[in-house]
Symmetry: C2
Subunit: 304 residues, 2 copies
């Protein structure tokens, strides 16, 4: 049992009201991998970096159960770079700089032994690249999860809708759900989006939690109220990693277990935002995860 | 066992993206009373109206278990009137008109038999008027809940802080919690506000649910995702009514039971927004409430 993770591995420079970083290692696939590594020891990465990407970051991923055979290293090219600044509310941000670099010509090539992965996590990327990965799978995964963002809805909605036909779970935020469905009510949006392909929809609402729709049922998981949200970068990807990691660990794709996966996703996201970049995800232990899970249980359980 | 409810009884004219109303009966105490009536048959109302207020609305309240002996009817004066228009997102609104009328000189007078009420719900009103009610109680209620809003923080913060010293539970929204505490993080805000007097704090986040803080514990209740939010007017007051109603019904002011009360409050708010004004609250049955409670359980329960 393994999870194939496709997405960016990148450099970020982040500014929040709490401070700023120089170039640090980031990217959707990095966060997804780190978060999933708390649940799964069979992670397979497909991504691309330039030769400016530090070997120690690759080694760090390998130590977190990641098979990096599908990580292309482009000689003489530069790694994808994103720089952004968060506003005081931490819910909105300005992109200061985006340098696509190696991402501009990224053609994902799945190593042969990756093609039968039981679980596929398509991190936020050009939809046509996500589709190219789907096309290379030799057998249908037990669960395909796709994450995307408003940028692709603005610029290549047709490609995105094509890819959506082939996925089981879509994860987007509330504004993106509204944009994709063209309706305001999230309940109505979920119905419309489920008709586009995904049997399940996860709507990530940041500090307001996450909603799971599927099989005519709805589940809501709160976000943990935190004293300090230090840096929201990667929270959604950490969510996806925890979500997918739990499903692979249990091998159970029922709605009941997807609910648990949403909780584990929320747990990993709650760690991610506590420090800059991937720092917190690389220092926490299984014990920390277990404790945080208990906090979620106590936060949302009641007896009438 | 009885609940003393103090707050406005008023006329509203409401416009939402779904339509608009002429003058209809509203006011915090009206919504609180209607919602609480599903749990309690001993409601006591202290408020004021003009002689333009229809007798049938008073009769309607009486049919909902409300003792109206404390409702002053001012001859030759007009009832408080508020008119507002909601924006497309239903989270923000513009006040079009506010006519204080009888509210300008409102001096609450508690009938003697109201003074020993076991539970006191101080609906949104001038803080000094809320304080006058507190001063008239002959014995300390088992639980005093106070609801307020940013308007009073802007205009009479000192009076509000004075009243807060005497209450057990404060209910406000997230922006108001930030304004009152002068910090952004709701976790930090809760700690600061609890030092002002209230042992417990409920932060109402509208479509994003509600948080309960107290005894170093935190509980989160989701809002029910709805296909249509027709009119948010009175949702917070309906929440307060369901919250207080459940507590009076059970006679239990433990944190565990306050959690249940937050769920019942959320249930009543979820009905309120489904139609204009108080319409939905006056047509639902105990059976509807029971069913909706089950929806909340299914929405938020998970087994890890």
């Amino acid at each position: 049992m393994s999870i194939l993770i496709v997405g960016t591995v990148a450099f970020d420079a982040i500014e929040t009201p709490f401070g700023k970083t120089d170039k640090i290692v980031g990217g959707a696939a990095t966060y997804i991998s780190l978060a999933a590594s708390f649940f799964s020891d069979k992670l397979r990465l497909v991504s691309v970096v330039g030769d400016d990407f530090p070997q120690e970051a690759i080694t760090m991923l390998e130590k977190h159960n990641v098979d990096t055979d599908g990580l292309q290293i482009k000689k003489g090219e530069k790694t994808f770079f994103w720089s952004g600044k968060y506003h005081n509310d931490m819910n909105s941000r300005d992109t200061i700089d985006t340098q696509l670099n190696v991402l501009e010509t990224f053609d994902p090539v799945l190593p042969n032994n990756f093609k039968d992965s039981e679980y596929l996590m398509l991190g936020n990327l050009v939809p046509s690249v996500q589709q190219k990965v789907l096309d290379q799978m030799s057998s249908k995964p037990k669960l395909i999860v796709l994450d995307t963002m408003n940028f692709w809805m603005d610029n290549c909605m047709d490609d995105l809708k094509e890819a959506l036909k082939n996925v089981d779970v879509l994860t987007i935020n509330d504004e993106e759900a509204r944009q994709l469905s063209e309706v305001y009510s999230l309940v109505k949006a979920a119905k419309i989006i489920q008709k586009m392909g995904p049997k399940y929809l996860v709507i990530k609402k940041g500090e307001h939690g996450a909603l799971l729709f599927g099989e005519d049922k709805t589940f809501f998981a709160p976000a943990l109220p935190l004293e300090n949200v230090f840096d929201p970068t990667g929270a959604g990807d950490s969510f996806a990693g925890g979500f997918m990691g739990h499903i692979q660990k249990t091998g159970d794709v029922s709605f009941e277990n997807l609910k648990s996966a949403v909780i584990y996703g929320s747990v990993m996201a709650s760690f991610c935002v506590e420090k800059f970049g991937t720092e917190r995800l690389t220092e926490i232990t299984q014990e920390d995860v277990k404790e945080r899970v208990n906090e979620f249980v106590s936060l949302s359980s009641f007896a009438l």
